[in-house]
Amino acid sequence: MATGGYVGKILYVNLTDGRIEEIPTSKYEQWGGGHGMGSAVFFDLVKDKTIDGFDPENVVTFMTSPFSGTLTPSASGRTEVQGIGVQSYPVGWFTRANFGGRFSAELKYAGWDGIAIQGKAEKPVWINIVNGEVSIEDAVGIWGLNTHEAQQKIWSIVGGDEAENGEWRGMSTGRDSGRTTQRPAVVTIGVAGENLNRNAMLLHDSGNSAGQGGFGGVLGSKNLKAVSVVGTGSVPVADPAALMDLRMELQAGFAYNVEEPVLEAPMADFPFYGIITRSPGASTVMWKGKDHPNRPQGCIGCFRACRRRWENGVANGDGCAESTYWMMGTQDENMAATHLLDQLGLNHYDAKNYSYLLALYKMGILGPGMQIDTKLPFENYKSYAFIEAYTKAIANREDIGADLAEGFARAAEKWGRYEEDTTSGILALPNWGFSEHYDPRIEVEWSYGSILGDRDINEHGLNTHVHWAPQVQAMVKQAPLVPAEQLVNLIAEATGLEPEGWDYSPDGIYADAKIAAVAWHRHYSRFWIQSMGMCDTAWPMLVNQVSEDHKGATPEYEPRLFEAVTGTVLSYEDSLELGRKIWNLDKAIWVLQGRHRDQEVHTGYVYSVPTTAPYFLPAKVDGVWDYSTCVGRTLDREKWEGVKTRFFELEGWDPATGWPTRATLEALDLSAVADELDAAGKLGA
């Protein structure tokens, strides 16, 4: 039993009948936290797993981890969101999203390890959590507001108009409830969510978003505008001194040294290189600071602080893909377009496909009076007026925005174009309707993991080392700081796998070693990233590009951090087993939803359109390791089928269907899950 990390209870709110209940965290502690707990809570609460994401019986969980609200570096401020999603295509799989900021910490300070929300309110509401007091509030005056306005309104209600941020204030729940300097942490939907957009996101503070899955739309379908939490308690830590020591060690060895940087970019004003030096603010590489002074900003407790806060107050904290949304205008227009996405509560990762619409416009298929009739100003596609009109049309379901609010995959299907355009690749949605992220034909932990799971995996920890570091260095004519052979050996040592697991050669991506690497990636991520809330921008730390020996912090530090916080000894091997258990539970839910191996196939272009741009990854050719450009590559359909068969065998799943077997589930102490699959006639043979 843990002596630290957990605060004891999970909040259950039923919006249909107004029930507010407590679930003891101890019931789910075996799952670690975050994703593991969320999947287990979902499994218990949702009896019929075949329901649609918009069904009131769907449960949305917001889960923290033992690390949330502690000093665990790059692991304190992430919140895991789960439930049946509405974005993936053709099936809305049980899925996950995640956002940073301070919501997870505030929830723990209020005494809650997580929240599970079920049902549908009769009219728009928001949930107010002040320490142990929870109420469902009328959202009159808040529904219809944009995401920033909604948060400001709630701050004024909960925190009091008179309280300036940064000042101590007492919470109005009694003399002993304590004081805080913090505004309530609010996660909210925008009008996109209110309009049941399948790509509506959740937003917290200025730019922390849970983008994928369509959870904004799911909350909208529950008539739930926002969840607000403020707490004045703290998180017990089993061995605070050990945690502090670990933090200082990690800070010294793996963070950017502001006073005496060990490594700097090879040219001035070169923020991209920050993914190698780990300099603060490094993820916001899209916008220059010349016109708008800014400073680094991070999620609570993070020693990376990868985002930026701008003097002009626009697009604060938007450091990730959303900052690339609009790249044609001036910087102010670029930032305004991202800010607009935030305020409307719209997920950039689907909306960014306007280049596909432009292709259809140029082909004479889309436009005024055309087959896809639209009045959107495509003739001015380079203007901010276009991107503004287009973005608002999706959020408000106007013009072709009504189709696009269903997501690009469903819109293309409605227009009769899905097969043709995903085969030619002009609509690059390689798996489950999600936009291409890293190249599915080459960087296969990403594409195999995505199609074998529920969404674009969006896990950058490995990708940074195998792809981005060599890519960046090649493009600035710098010899790799870590040569390919040393890199794969370091990763092999850190993961306990063979170096060949990180071979991206045409043969390497189908080898047994690669299949083992894909399984490791799923298991590691399910536990440490998604259940322990360790940010994928920082973890796993497989390699240290900056130090002399280049040795990373993984796998030594994760178990030590776990023990310092929870007081429980967990070996690295056992943590991977826990990750495998969570991965199996998720797989069982997908199977109950109708998953079969025949569906686990990428869209056509992945198998037929060769890559054209250099894409550096380690590859072993004629026994020699080097970084290869990987040009001219496609996936081979037959070989992919073979990979699936061998992957299923490795996982102990039925190779004919991909369904988990009873023996596998029982060995993981998942007999009840096996029983439910059995009852549905979906247990692997």
Binding site: F270, M286, K288, S355, A359
Partner: protein
């Protein structure tokens, strides 16, 4: 690396060439540029006019990230296709030939792109000036 004095390289284009080179292109005439950055990976962007290509290629150079560009990442274009596009589609044979000569150097992709930058700077300036004059007329 070869360095050109662009002013010495190009004669002033006539109005017909300027109009052709600066026109909006069709779907079949597009150029595909691969934009790469850590957050989004590699995205193929279709480009439908010369200024748009210039924006994507040179507005994303490493050395200009915080200086005068708002875009980041690597903009990759297939050099052979790019030369063919400039000559055959855009219709600027002189520019295509000068770019081809830079690309023939045995240097890295980055250096090739650096080498063609002054050519485009000059050519766009010539086109820009000419287009304004034409508009005034």
């Amino acid at each position: 690396m070869v360095e050109y004095e662009a002013e010495e390289l190009f004669a002033q284009p006539d109005a017909e060439l300027a109009e052709r080179a600066m026109r909006e292109l069709s779907w079949a005439e597009r150029l595909t540029i691969s934009k790469m950055n850590p957050a989004t990976g590699t995205e193929n962007v279709d480009v439908y006019n010369l200024p748009h290509a210039v924006l994507h290629l040179f507005g994303t150079r490493w050395d200009r990230l915080l200086l005068d560009g708002s875009r980041a990442g690597i903009a990759y274009v297939d050099t052979t296709r790019f030369v063919a596009w400039l000559g055959d589609v855009v219709g600027d044979k002189a520019l295509a030939e000068a770019v081809a000569e830079c690309f023939a150097q045995d240097v890295s992709y980055e250096e090739k792109i650096e080498a063609i930058k002054p050519l485009f700077k000059e050519r766009m300036s010539q086109y820009g000036a000419l287009m304004i004059e034409t508009a005034v007329e």
